[in-house]
Subunit: 230 residues, 2 copies
């Protein structure tokens, strides 16, 4: 496998987004609601797991999302912002993403967790490079890789090795997840001027945003390969 593509502007260490940029509150807020909705989705989808071991793995992943939520809640409090007020504008878009990508099997749920987490991490990691250190450290904290993804990789790989139809189905599923995630990300940005300005500022310009989405596509393909979904 090729090494992961470098984020578009990773060689550029200049801080382009100061800590008091109004988009930072939006950034923390959308991340915070992302953690909450991931928590509830994981807890709900664990019902699909055929084993108690799978249910417990999902519960651990869900609990890790809540640790991240606390970090963001504190970071927002430090800016004098109530997390619930800040999250309100993002509830519909994230709920829509989850409704439009509702897994019908345990494997779909695991692929969604792994792939969705990865897409989000790619997007925010690229932004983090341009953020003031005290902001970027919060973003990196909540995106930190956990050991849980190993569980997902094993579950999915072993299932698709023995079933070609499962592999084809999950490959399509992964493609749909990327499409829906990008649609909703664009929708969120279109609604929130401060966040759009932050993303534009962090990526440089509209070409930078296009490069960011290309980068996410490349990384997505690599992740699918790790899951055995070529």
């Amino acid at each position: 496998m090729n090494p992961p593509a470098a984020p578009p502007q990773s060689d550029d260490l200049e801080v382009r987004i100061p800590a008091d940029h109004p988009g930072v509150t939006d950034l923390f807020a959308v991340l915070a609601y992302g953690e909450i909705s991931a928590f509830y989705r994981l807890a709900e989808e664990a019902e699909l797991s055929p084993t108690l071991r799978g249910k417990v793995a999902a519960a651990k992943m869900a609990a890790a999302e809540m640790e991240h939520f606390r970090t963001l809640e504190q970071a927002l409090a430090g800016r004098g912002v109530d997390v619930f007020d800040a999250m309100a504008p993002f509830v519909d878009a994230l709920d829509d993403y989850h409704t439009s990508t509702d897994p019908s099997t345990w494997l779909e749920s695991m692929v969604k967790f792994y792939v969705g987490d990865g897409i989000a991490a790619d997007f925010y990691t690229v932004l983090a490079v341009a953020l003031a250190p005290e902001v970027s450290s919060v973003v990196r904290d909540v995106l930190a890789e956990t050991s849980h993804s190993e569980f997902v990789v094993e579950e999915v790989r072993s299932a698709v090795e023995v079933s070609r139809s499962e592999r084809d189905r999950l490959t399509l599923w992964g493609r749909r997840l990327l499409g829906e995630a990008i649609t909703q990300a664009q929708f969120v940005m279109a609604q929130r001027d401060e966040l759009t300005e932050l993303v534009l500022g962090a990526t440089g310009d509209l070409n930078g945003i296009a490069a960011l989405f290309d980068h996410m596509q490349t990384r997505h393909t690599e992740r699918m390969r790790v899951l055995g979904l070529a």
Copy 2:
């Protein structure tokens, strides 16, 4: 309000149950499955919350259960026992408890969380006194009071202050929870000789067990009063 009644044998600091007592594995296992089932119940019942604030409070409580699960998983691993093997005998009894006390409202769910947690804590705290220090420290760790109960007390108190019928309904609900918890606890013990021996050893004799259940009843009444449910 009166100070809480002292546990029946709190003045007796003698270790009656050595760390290698075979019931200790059962004790850790029933606690571990208790955390898992509480996690999923909280996550599921959060759907009943009328506010995002309530949903997030429930998610935080659920995440705390998973931290306790990890502690127990490690303690069992330290004894060379796989947590899933050890939990298997307790799955049905705990699932039955939750099925027989399925809340139909958010307030019932909050009362169940507060009261159920309290009943379990009373039971295990009395046992902990007689356990070897390395075992009792694990038990105390996973029963440690969290700040989440404040949220529950506020939610329930403010609701029952304005509605007498709600207060009457929740008072009956609390009584039913205690009854079901004691029924299931006795059922679990009857099935597991090692655990029965541990509880008998920790409380002294059958009179000690009767005193333990009396103590749980007294503490339950105090907790109901804290919730405004006299």
